[in-house]
């Protein structure tokens, strides 16, 4: 790990100013992805801008038909929040299965989304639930947010402040975790929303992706058998990883089926 300057701004505006002023600065939230990378010298930021002292980023609240989760809310807090469990139990379940207890106690939803690991669990929830990423300057729709492997729509100096989830009729997440890392080899979130059924797959591709045919079929008849007919485009799948594309495509079907069943 190389030396860096450490900053603890008191406001989002101050944090943005620090990011603008230091080209090689990195934001630090829970540190569960950034710190391992720093330890291995894979990232060598000049400055770390901690969000820890900024008020207002740790709230979970309902606003009308939306559930709003602050960027610094930890996975464990999402998993155990009475509000989340009542309104979107599928999201609480997903958060409770992220990594391990240490990761859940430190890792944050905003950090996970900014990092955009292709095998993280949250992207499936963001896309399937049609969430909105709220930043210091705008709102980004889920379908516009994830751009590729560790790539998002965020500007270099843009900070996620919250995530706004429209509450679905029902939703569930099923994942096949890597036995060592517990990242998703394939994770599928299914949500029945006012606007229709949305199905998002994480882990199996370079970024989270949807399954439009399955969504359409479930929109007609919300039954698990629909998953058996899913055709996954090989282009959506990761290659060169530990799991073969054939196995990934198969796991997506199985996880989709289990997520649909869990929605019943």
């Amino acid at each position: 790990m190389k030396n860096f300057e450490f900053h603890r701004p008191q406001s989002v505006a101050d944090a943005v100013t620090l990011l603008k002023g230091h080209e090689a600065a990195k934001l630090l939230a829970g540190g569960q992805s950034l710190l391992p990378v720093l330890k291995l010298d894979l990232a060598q930021p000049s400055d770390l801008v901690s969000l820890a002292k900024i008020p207002g980023l740790k709230e979970i609240r309902s606003e009308g038909n939306d559930l709003v989760i602050g960027a610094l809310v930890t996975h464990d807090e999402v998993a155990n929040s009475a509000e989340v469990k009542k309104r979107i139990p599928g999201l609480a379940g997903l958060a409770g299965g992220i990594g391990d207890a240490q990761i859940r106690n430190r890792g944050t939803i905003g950090g996970s989304l900014a990092h955009a690991d292709p095998a993280a669990d949250y992207p499936a929830a963001i896309v399937a639930l049609g969430a909105t990423i709220v930043t210091d300057r705008r709102q980004i729709a889920a379908d516009d947010y994830f751009k590729g492997l560790f790539q998002t729509a965020l500007e270099p100096d843009e900070i996620i402040t919250a995530v706004r989830f429209p509450v679905p009729e029902r939703s569930a997440y099923a994942k096949f975790p890597h036995p060592a890392s517990k990242y998703a080899v394939a994770g599928v979130m299914v949500a029945k929303t006012a606007g229709g059924v949305r199905v998002a797959v994480t882990g199996a591709g370079p970024k989270v992706f949807r399954l439009p045919a399955l969504e359409a079929s479930l929109g007609g008849n919300f039954a698990w058998r629909a998953a058996e007919a899913v055709e996954v485009s090989p282009g959506d799948l990761r290659t060169g990883g530990e799991a073969s594309p054939e196995y990934l495509a198969h796991l997506i079907k199985v996880m989709a089926k289990r997520a649909i069943q869990a929605c019943q």
Partner: protein, 791 residues
């Protein structure tokens, strides 16, 4: 009977400091003025080193020195020696290539140390290591056994054509061929025993201090055998006489074999300390451990079993390729030969065996002993083959074993592969395990699993292992460079408490408790009044260390032998005090008694008298009460037993869930049942890990793909069921303790039981083979292939 002697689960004395985080490990040792070393390691599996430019690194903050292979050569450091020489079939010796402490001219595996950067802080050394500019010329590399023996394969060593280190055999080929020629049935199998990383929780570390005023060297190191390290450094690598050399292995956080061997870093920190005038400390990180700690297993075998029509075993022939890696580690050649082929009779009557083992160099991390070391490979081979034979002959898997087990009245039993088993009762452990798992109700459990959409499988392994290594003359005849006795000094203090100095080393085994129990058993002293000292060549006379489940059987016997001498001396003192003849003195329960009378002296009184010899037979008996013993074993010990596993396979995903494990072992006399259970649990976790989760994956170019805990899967508590562990004791006949050893039984016995269970679950689908580790994708693919699916 004592409440702290043999058979009592005394709470572990060492746990207070471990549980409070107060253990003192090598990395906790910080010496005044110490500098820190970081190694530059080759990123290539095979590369010519055209040059090393350290000029930038030398200018980095805090850097004291950058040392390379050229410096090692200039100072005439010896290469890392291999401690075992194998003789080829044709009578010639194996190829033992040089192993310089820092690569000279060529790096031969990814992770091979090329330069050593020494700086005032570890962070500075780490930063500067990135500035060392090594000009590599990468060469074609080879990592996998079958590729390494293929025509035209890249050559790891010029002196080893075809990458063959040795071509060795054991057994009687003619008798074996004769059996096969007339066999009613022959069953064949091809197997891979997967390469695993040892992954002790404490990474290796070393802190070397050269004291120039006294011309004396002290090394703190993570070792299972500090005397062996001193011996090898003194005689081969550092070339410093032993009286100038002290090796301390303080608390060590797990070894599993990987900390037996003499590693380059150990001598390099001492050498560097001499050069730079500071103590030099190095601590491995996990990524470095994957690339520098010796790996284990990595065999490819073809085996055939000849049987009678009714399933009696007649002969076995085996051809094994064993991966040695790029260099020969300390005991590497012994593992696939004398700890593998000699075990191929298993617990069975098998009249003829012929085994051929070729050891192969590859551009990978050296392979050496990991928990079980050769015996897991032998057991896996035999138990997979026996299961296959049962299926092909249509005989029940339990019954085919039962009909071939060596019977209790056949001991001592001479196998056709050199070993003579002294004692055992294999039918008893088989029955005990079957009862523990409630085998009679297996069909009900299988039906219940099917109700849940799961395929249930039952797997069995009846196994034998050899430990308590080993008779020195025997291992010498087989090529070992050392004797494998053990030493102990027992010092009785004037007030009757005892310090035992043992040449074994505890790195998780609980010797501070179990060895104190041995003293309690013999002398009647509470374990609280017994201190066990290990791990320091200045405090302990000598020792060969801890591995191969030898410590209680061999080290414990040395302690018993030393205690016997003390008891005998005490008799003379007691006879004097009691005014009786020595012949009339009996010692039991901590008391010297005149036989047939109530006249007695406690052990404490005798000890005190020995040190305050006012009323004392001073003409014939020296004052003091301390004695030492070396114990050289008469034979190996032969723990064995039966391991049973039930799994549930999810046919949709291929996931294997180990739902039940019941084992019945015979590990000889038990000192501490709790610790024996703990050793069994740890070994089972290790074995289940190898069967289902763990694998060092190299790509074809010799890059280790599974080099971190993100992708090398260690077993965790959630991956394991609650184990049912039983013991049936037959005492070892040839050592004074009756102990056989327990440290490796789980890792040896359980892997084939797991795979046999998986194959049993999948048999209805037509699956007949699966390789370890049986990962979900492999299981799913096997199902698809058997069902004629697209996969």
């Amino acid at each position: 009977m004592s409440d702290q002697g043999l058979g009592v689960s005394v709470a572990r004395k060492e746990d207070r400091r471990f549980l409070l985080g107060k253990g003192r490990y090598t990395d906790d040792v910080s010496l005044p003025g110490q500098a820190h070393a970081v190694f530059v390691r080759s990123p290539h599996a095979n590369a010519v080193i055209r040059g090393i430019d350290a000029s930038q690194a030398l200018q980095a903050p805090g850097v004291i020195a950058v040392l390379t292979g050229a410096d090692v050569a200039a100072d005439d450091l010896g290469g890392i020696p291999c401690g075992w020489t194998i003789t080829n079939k044709d009578g010639s010796k194996m190829v033992a290539p040089p192993h310089p402490a820092l690569a000279q001219g060529k790096a031969r595996h990814a992770g091979d140390p090329v330069a050593m950067v020494i700086a005032e802080t570890r962070a500075q050394a780490k930063d500067a290591a990135q500035l060392v500019d090594v000009d590599y010329d990468p060469q074609p590399a080879v990592a996998h056994l079958n590729a390494a023996v293929a025509p035209g394969a890249p050559q790891v060593w010029d002196e080893a054509p075809g990458n063959v280190c040795f071509d060795w055999h054991l057994g009687d080929p003619a008798a074996t061929e004769a059996e096969f020629a007339q066999a009613a049935r022959v069953v064949a199998i091809d197997l891979t025993n997967n390469r695993i990383a040892p992954n002790a929780i404490e990474p290796r570390a070393a802190n070397g201090h050269y004291d120039d005023v006294n011309d004396h060297y002290t090394l703190y190191t993570t070792s299972q055998n500090p005397h062996l390290i001193r011996l090898l450094m003194g005689a081969f690598t550092l070339k410093v006489p032993e009286h100038k050399l002290r090796v301390v292995a303080p608390d060590v956080g797990g070894g599993f074999g990987s900390k037996i061997f003499h590693y380059a870093e150990e001598l390099l920190v001492l050498w560097a300390s001499r050069r730079v005038g500071h103590p030099v400390k190095w601590t491995s990180d996990r990524s470095e451990a994957f690339l520098s700690d010796a790996h284990g297993r990595d065999h490819v075998s073809h085996a055939e079993l000849a049987l009678t029509a009714d399933g009696k075993f007649r002969a076995l022939r085996v051809r094994t390729l064993a991966n040695m890696g790029a260099y020969l580690s300390t005991f590497a050649p012994a593992i696939p030969t004398y700890l593998h082929a000699t075990l191929l009779s298993g617990p069975y009557v098998l009249p003829a065996i012929y085994a051929e083992v070729k050891a192969i160099f590859t551009n990978t991390v050296p392979v050496d002993a990991v928990r079980g070391a050769g015996r897991p490979e032998a057991t896996y081979l035999l138990e997979r083959l026996v299961d296959k034979a049962a299926r092909e002959l249509g005989i029940d898997r339990v019954e085919i074993r039962r009909k071939n087990l060596i019977q209790p009245d056949q001991f001592p039993y001479q196998t056709p592969v050199a070993l003579q088993y002294d004692v055992g009762d294999y039918p008893a452990t088989l029955d005990m395990a079957l009862e523990a798992i409630d085998y009679g109700k297996y069909a009900e459990r299988k039906a219940a699993s099917e109700q849940r959409g799961k395929l249930r499988g039952f797997g069995i392994s009846t196994y034998i292992e050899a430990c308590g290594i080993a008779p020195s003359a025997l291992v010498g005849a087989l090529g070992a460079g050392a004797g494998l006795y053990e030493a102990a000094t027992v010092r009785v203090h004037p007030t009757g408490s005892v310090t035992v100095f043992t040449g074994t080393h505890s790195h998780g085994q609980g010797h501070e408790t179990t060895f104190a129990q041995l003293v309690n058993e013999r002398l009647g002293i509470p374990v609280e009044n017994v201190e066990i000292v290990h791990g320091d060549t200045d405090r302990i006379p000598f020792g060969m260390g801890t591995y191969g489940s030898r410590s209680a059987a061999v080290g414990g016997s040395a302690i018993y032998k030393a205690i016997d001498k003390i008891v005998d001396k005490g008799k003379k003192i007691a006879a004097h005090l009691l005014e009786a003849s020595v012949a009339d003195i009996e010692f039991a329960d901590g008391k010297y008694k005149v036989a047939g009378t109530d006249r007695e002296k406690s052990f404490g009184e005798v000890a005190f008298t020995a040190y305050v010899p006012h009323n004392y037979p001073i003409e014939t008996v020296e004052p003091g009460l301390e004695d030492s013993a070396f114990y050289d074993p008469k034979n190996f010990t032969f723990p064995g037993g039966c391991h049973l596993v039930e799994v549930e396979v999810d046919p949709e995903t291929g996931e294997v869930d180990v739902v039940d494990v019941a084992i019945a072992d015979d590990v000889g006399v038990i000192i501490n049942p709790m610790i024996v259970d703990g050793q069994a649990h740890g070994g089972l976790a290790h074995g289940i890990g190898q069967a289902l989760l763990e694998e060092c994956v190299y790509d074809a170019d010799g890059q280790l793909l599974s080099g971190s805990f993100m992708n090398y899967t260690m077993p965790r508590a959630a991956d394991l069921p609650s184990f049912k562990v039983g013991n049936h004791v037959t005492a070892c006949t040839h050592n004074p303790t009756g102990i056989k050893g327990v440290g490796e039984v789980g890792a040896i016995g359980v892997p084939p039981a797991v795979i046999n269970a998986v194959l049993d679950a999948l048999a209805p689908l037509g699956v007949t083979d699966i390789t370890m580790p049986a990962t979900p994708e492999k299981v799913w693919r096997a199902i698809q292939a058997a069902q004629g699916g697209a996969a």
